[in-house]
């Protein structure tokens, strides 16, 4: 066997050397920005220097051909410096305004989508899904591709009252994160346990400890040490499944999709907010997930028509009230919308504030 090499524990690289020279020169000395058109930002420094950002959406799961195509465009039409956003959009930085339009044309010509700035529907941040995750209830890239096909005009144009962050997550751990609209897997049945495998595969005490409602206890099943679930307590969250794969939570029929709204991580106008449940029981329907997309589009339509400038989805709903929201988007309100978790009381209406 070859000599093993010691790793160089260099950690997080210094980006200074990879920044556009205009950004290096004006670091920390930017004065203001403008939004010349969707997908383009202009930043102006106190020195008078200017830099244009052209932002493009991609398929996120990049093959090396696509990555090199993005590099070719960056070399031929931009200055060779790029920045990736938190939602996996690529941004090209150019210090010459005359480069902006040819760069846009090159990106659009190659099939990328210029947009995603300011009050647009941003690229959906998502998880790994069936492509790579070990516990997914659905796919991620496919859901996002299907939705972005339908929402592309809202990515290309900044016509929403404020920015819209959409996220998807292929299990209830919700790696996709909080969003103005979040589309997440919601399991509806307790795990199906393969008792023959549990003792050999799972560290039983840590699986018991993982359950948020103490519904799992050790048991002897068929003469073997295993685990059993008190199905009256079980909330079908799937937390036991990653450490114990024989406790299969995913189900082709009973793992559904749920939609949550109003998550917002900015402090602007109000404190950050978590997303709230609005729809569930949506079929997990590959390859196009039309039912989920239809609800997202209904929410976006009502928001676009009803919200004031700068109101995020959550703020719009706070203003018009939840009863009207459910009316406007034609979604049922059920007992499942009433929170049962710790702190639930804080979400109940303890006032006479009722809208008619």
């Amino acid at each position: 066997m070859a000599e093993m090499r010691e790793p160089i524990e260099s950690g997080c690289p210094d980006p200074w050397q990879y920044m556009h020279p205009v950004m290096r020169k004006n670091f920390g000395m930017w004065k203001y920005h403008e939004h010349p058109r969707p997908g383009v930002l202009l930043h102006v420094a106190y020195s008078g220097d200017k830099i244009w950002t052209v932002k493009a959406g991609t398929q996120r799961i990049l093959d090396v051909f696509t990555l090199r195509k993005l590099c070719d465009i960056g070399d031929e039409f931009a200055d060779g410096y790029v920045h990736f956003t938190i939602r996996s959009n690529i941004e090209y930085l150019v210090s010459d305004e005359s480069k902006v339009q040819p760069l846009i044309d090159a990106l659009e010509g190659a099939g990328f989508v210029v947009g995603g700035t300011q009050n647009s529907v941003a690229m959906i941040s998502h998880t790994q899904g069936w492509l790579h995750c070990d516990i997914p209830g659905t796919d991620a890239s496919g859901v996002v591709k299907s939705m972005m096909d339908e929402l592309i005009d809202e990515f290309r144009n900044a016509r929403m009252p404020n920015r819209v962050h959409i996220t998807t997550s292929c299990c209830q751990i919700n790696c996709g994160g909080q969003g103005d609209i979040a589309i997440n897997v919601q399991h509806t049945k307790p795990p199906k346990i393969n008792h023959d495998l549990v003792a050999n595969v799972c560290e039983r005490p840590s699986v018991v400890a993982r359950c948020p409602v103490a519904a799992i206890r050790p048991a002897m099943v068929n003469g073997k040490p295993s685990l059993e679930v008190d199905e009256r307590k079980c909330i079908c969250c799937g937390a036991c499944y990653p450490p114990c794969p024989p406790m299969q939570i995913n189900d082709a029929e009973h793992s559904k999709l749920a939609i949550w709204v109003g998550g917002n991580h900015s402090n602007a106008r109000g404190k950050p907010t978590f997303q709230k449940l609005v729809a569930a029981g949506i079929p997990n329907n590959p390859p196009r997930w039309p039912e989920a997309t239809a609800i997202v589009k209904r929410i976006l339509k009502a928001y676009k028509e009803g919200a004031k400038d700068w109101e995020r989805i959550g703020e719009w709903i706070e203003r018009i009230g939840w009863p009207r929201f459910f009316e406007e988007v034609e979604l049922p309100f059920t007992k499942y919308h009433i929170d049962t978790w710790r702190g639930a009381r804080a979400s109940f209406n303890s006032s006479s504030y009722i809208r008619f």
Partner: protein
């Protein structure tokens, strides 16, 4: 040699429509890449993914794969249907830490692509939800040579498992007028101080640093990191009254009354009769809204620093938690300032490593032991900025009240207040 391509009728439907298709990208690797290994890997990957679409189930299982000297940074994936799809039966992801702020040159991206196609599937994502570059799809055997190659020219693995994770920071001072701190420096000093804890998972659970240069929090730090650093300022915001007038001349007085004055969460703004803006800075909470609407006219003040919030996380296990203010304001200018920031992170991680239960995030530990105990544990005095409001429950033993009140007055006197 032509490969026997799996039929993918469901995935094929994801090649229609205007948004770029990841399926078309994977097919390009299958059909056009000169390396037969990549053709075979991506063919079987598509086969397994089609199988998932048909059966609505995933077929990857975890395991243990790492590189020499490290215990984490790779997400191992072994296929449960590897007999049918043998070429992609090992399909691990290497998590690689991006440069702080996600700045790249095309030359770097090309160099990474060249290395990756030698050893991996040819699929890569910039970036995963934790912030890593994700090189998706390497065999166990190929993880080491790929890592060795990119490690030699400056890249290192990120975190996976119960460890300090790859950090994130916004574009910040490099290209944003709202930036109130050197995000890149804070990001790198924090995470690179814990390199050992990144590579050798030994903590109760994951620990994430995220740095946003202003309260817009573009990095989701408050909601998604255990240690959130947000740029802010404590003197008056800067107002360019001439630019305020220009904005009002452009869109009209009503627009700015409706969209700036009345949207201030603490009613700290009013419009004067001569179309200048009046700001009550004592009432301003630095929410950023008016600056966002009028970026030419309004800017952060000069006395900049950071607010630090601890304990943000998603649902598992006790429910969603936002970070809690633990340091309302901290200057971040001198080397000593940065050193004390790193020391605070060390103190918090040490305390949590000592007192956290297995699989318990820092915020969950704070929930369990109480914020007051946590503050005592890390040596920080309580401050009203840490709360939305004081306690509502009278169920507390308070026989140390006089002593605590004395401490407060002594601290106030020391601070010259």
């Amino acid at each position: 040699m032509a490969i026997d391509k799996h039929a993918t009728p469901m995935l094929d439907q994801l090649e229609t429509g205007p948004w770029p298709s990841f399926i078309s990208g994977i097919k390009r690797l299958r059909d056009q890449h000169p390396d037969a290994r990549i053709n075979a890997v991506t063919n079987d990957l598509l086969g397994q993914l089609e199988h998932s679409y048909e059966t609505r189930k995933g077929y990857w299982k975890g395991g243990t794969v790492s590189v020499f000297g490290y215990g984490g940074g790779i997400i191992p994936r072994f296929s449960e249907v590897g007999k049918v799809f043998p070429s992609s039966k090992e399909f691990h992801t290497l998590r690689v830490q991006p440069p702080a702020g996600n700045h790249y040159t095309t030359a770097m991206l090309r160099q990474l692509a060249d290395s990756w196609e030698k050893y991996g599937s040819g699929l890569v994502t910039f970036h995963g939800q934790t912030g890593n570059i994700m090189f998706i799809g390497a065999t166990t055997e190929n993880t080491q040579p790929f890592f060795d190659e990119i490690n030699e020219y400056g890249w290192d693995l990120g975190g996976a498992g119960p460890c300090v994770r790859t950090a994130m920071s916004c574009v910040g001072a490099a290209r944003c007028e709202m930036s109130c701190t050197n995000e890149l420096k804070a990001h790198r000093l924090l995470v690179n101080n814990f390199t050992d804890d990144v590579h050798r998972p030994a903590l109760p659970y994951k620990f994430k640093f995220k740095v946003s240069g202003c309260p817009n929090d573009c990095q989701n730090a408050i909601e998604r990191s255990d240690f959130a650093v947000l740029g802010t300022w404590r003197d008056d915001m800067k107002v360019d009254q001439a630019e305020v007038k220009n904005y009002i001349a452009d869109k009209g007085r009503q627009y700015y009354i409706d969209n700036v004055i009345t949207r201030c969460p603490t009613k700290a703004l009013s419009l004067n009769d001569d179309d200048t803006l009046n700001v009550n800075n004592r009432d301003c909470v630095r929410c950023m809204h008016c600056l966002n609407v009028m970026p030419k006219a309004l800017h952060p003040g000069d006395d900049k620093g950071v607010t630090i919030l601890i304990g943000g996380k998603r649902t598992l296990k006790i429910g969603d938690l936002m970070g809690t203010v633990v340091v309302p304001f901290k200057k971040l200018e001198t080397e000593e300032d940065y050193e004390s920031l790193v020391e605070l992170a060390e103190t918090i991680i040490d305390f949590w490593a000592e007192n956290g239960l297995e699989h318990e995030r820092c915020g969950e530990m704070i929930e369990r032991i109480g914020l007051a105990n946590f503050l005592e544990g890390i040596g920080i005095e309580p401050d009203p900025n840490m709360l939305s409001h004081p306690r509502q429950s009278s169920y507390i033993r308070m026989d140390g009240w006089d002593e605590a009140a004395e401490k407060w007055f002594a601290r106030q006197a020391e601070a010259g207040r």
